[in-house]
């Protein structure tokens, strides 16, 4: 008797669609992906998309319009398990950096002026867990091929993904790299989730944090360490905020209060 296949949907909200593209780019495994599960909906890869009940929904992108919020709520209602894929869905992405209501309204006006929006109401960009319960988070900007495939395979096997919860430094040391921070290069490795294979430090490029912050990211310590090394305060803030989305908003808010 053939095992019943999981029904899986892949959705894109606000983002660059890089995560969906990465899935399509798993060329050698693409047949296996479609064989292992019933891909019910995947706009980038197929046309006959159905919006029915799902075992697993993979959601890319942040929520930045009312319409997307409705779509997301609908996905949650239809799905047993929701997985946030990519930095935008997990933490809000670059469009959620420096999340602060006042800043957002100001920035929005600066970009769009007074144009009236007719098809949907724009909203401040937020990660999907601002609106729904998320079961698992697959980080990355974009997500990594190996991590995606192993996550997909585990889900097909009925198991939750098993992802690294530790920072990039661990993988960086596995690869026997000399610490860039110790060479006074502003590396965000200690704050950033591993899983990328420490590709940047492997090539002497500091970590920019694109896998998003770890649960226990010690922002205070890293921040002071970089200040100590003589880096410009604005540069540090920008770099730390870039891929951290809403995750470090609190840190910055607290910091602003302190400096006042």
């Amino acid at each position: 008797m053939e095992k019943e296949k999981l029904k899986i949907g892949i959705y894109e909200l606000t983002g660059c669609a890089g995560d969906a593209l990465l899935i399509v780019d798993c060329e050698e495994e693409l047949m296996n992906i479609f064989k292992a599960a019933d891909i019910e909906s995947f706009l980038m890869a197929k046309s006959d998309n159905r919006n029915g009940e799902l075992d697993v929904a993979l959601v890319e992108g942040s929520v930045s319009t009312e319409k997307e919020k409705e779509e997301l709520l609908d996905i949650r209602r239809r799905s047993k398990v929701v997985v946030a894929i990519g930095n935008c869905a997990c933490v809000g992405g670059i469009q959620a950096a420096f999340l602060d209501k006042k800043d957002w309204e100001k920035n929005f006006k600066k970009v769009y002026g007074t144009i009236a929006f007719t098809h949907t109401k724009p909203a401040q960009s937020k990660p999907i867990d601002a609106y729904i319960r998320v079961d698992h988070y697959l980080p990355g900007c974009p997500i990594g091929k190996e991590q995606f495939l192993s996550t997909f395979a585990r889900m097909v096997g009925g198991n939750p993904p098993e992802l690294y919860r530790f920072p990039v430094c661990v993988e960086c040391k596995w690869h026997e790299n000399d610490c860039l921070l110790n060479k006074d290069i502003p590396c965000l490795g200690p704050l950033t989730l591993a899983g990328c294979g420490s590709v940047c430090p492997d090539h002497n490029i500091p970590c920019f944090g694109c896998w998003g912050p770890t649960e226990e990211a010690n922002l205070t310590s890293e921040y002071h360490l970089l200040l100590d090394k003589g880096f410009d305060l604005e540069m540090i803030k920008k770099r730390m905020a870039n891929y951290s989305g809403t995750r470090i908003a609190e840190f910055f808010a607290q910091f602003r209060k302190e400096k006042r």
Partner: protein, 286 residues
């Protein structure tokens, strides 16, 4: 001894051996009972363990985790586990039906010092799922009843439905050769005939004990230990005769992966059974 002279060829401490789930059913909503047997008959019969020891269970693809053995070595052949749904491995186990295969290795840990306990009185104090590891030593003492002095059991659970092996304990109450007191924190059924309150409220009902001659065995949720130990110390049971079995994260079960380290000991090698003296001595145990 020189490393070169060691022969690892036969030593396969990490290899899970295939075992079959013979029976499985729910004990409570989130606790399931598993009866398991090694596929290899020789292995099934030669698996020698002590009450209080644990085994590592692998579920294909999900991973591996440690579980205390709930059956008694006095009934060889089948191994039993009571497993609470908590993480990836237990969730995968819950999905498995009877006749499914799992991976099994062990037994590991020190277990209860049953030789030293011979001829002594036994007081078993159980909280909730603590019944899983203590069931082994309880059944062992019943199967070897003449080897021990008095046997007394105090068992507290949150609600009647969460008292695992209820029937086994109720039938113990019928026996004249042991004492058994049961309590629930709250009775939501209206049909509970035993006491209501936390497990420590059962102590006053215990008959006079011969403290220097008594081994107290404790297992329950982390919060319980402090209060139960206080009662046991009040009864003047020697510190090294108050035994408790503890839970820690483990990835190997054989003192290699480090996760269960506390001070200079490994829970998997030197535990999971510790004395109250160990607890005082090593701090971070409970």
């Amino acid at each position: 001894m020189n490393v070169q002279d060691k022969s690892p060829a036969e030593a396969k401490p990490f290899k899970p051996e295939p075992a079959r789930i013979v029976r499985t059913y729910h004990l409570t909503e989130d606790v399931k009972f598993f009866q398991v047997r090694f596929v290899d008959m020789q292995k099934a019969l030669s698996f020698n363990y002590k009450p209080g020891q644990f085994a590592m269970i692998s579920v294909l693809g999900a991973g591996e985790a440690p579980f205390s053995i709930s059956s008694t070595p006095s009934r060889p052949g089948l191994l039993e586990f009571c497993i609470r749904r908590a993480g990836t491995v237990t969730n995968a186990l819950f999905r498995l039906k009877e006749n499914s295969l799992i991976g099994l290795r062990g037994p590991y840990g020190n277990g209860f010092p049953v030789e030293a306990m011979t001829g002594k009185d036994i007081l078993i104090v159980v909280g909730g799922l603590g019944a899983a590891p203590l069931r082994s030593v309880l059944l062992y003492s019943l199967d070897n009843r003449d080897q021990f002095g008095r046997v007394a059991v105090l068992y507290g659970a949150k609600r009647p439905a969460e008292m695992i092996f209820r029937e086994e304990y109720f039938s113990l109450k019928q026996r004249s050769d042991l004492e058994c007191h049961l309590a629930v924190d709250a009775d939501d059924t209206g049909k509970w005939t035993e006491r209501v309150g936390v497990v420590t409220t059962l102590f006053p009902h215990l008959r006079q004990i011969d403290a220097p001659n008594t081994y107290a065995l404790v297992c329950g949720p982390p919060v319980m230990y402090k209060f139960v130990i206080k009662e046991l110390v009040k009864l003047a049971i020697p510190k090294n005769q108050i035994l408790m079995t503890l839970e820690r994260r483990m990835k190997c079960g054989v003192g290699k992966c480090g996760h269960c380290a506390i001070d200079y000991i490994y829970t998997c090698l030197d535990g999971p059974v510790f004395t109250y003296w160990d607890v005082i001595h090593m701090r971070e145990l409970i």
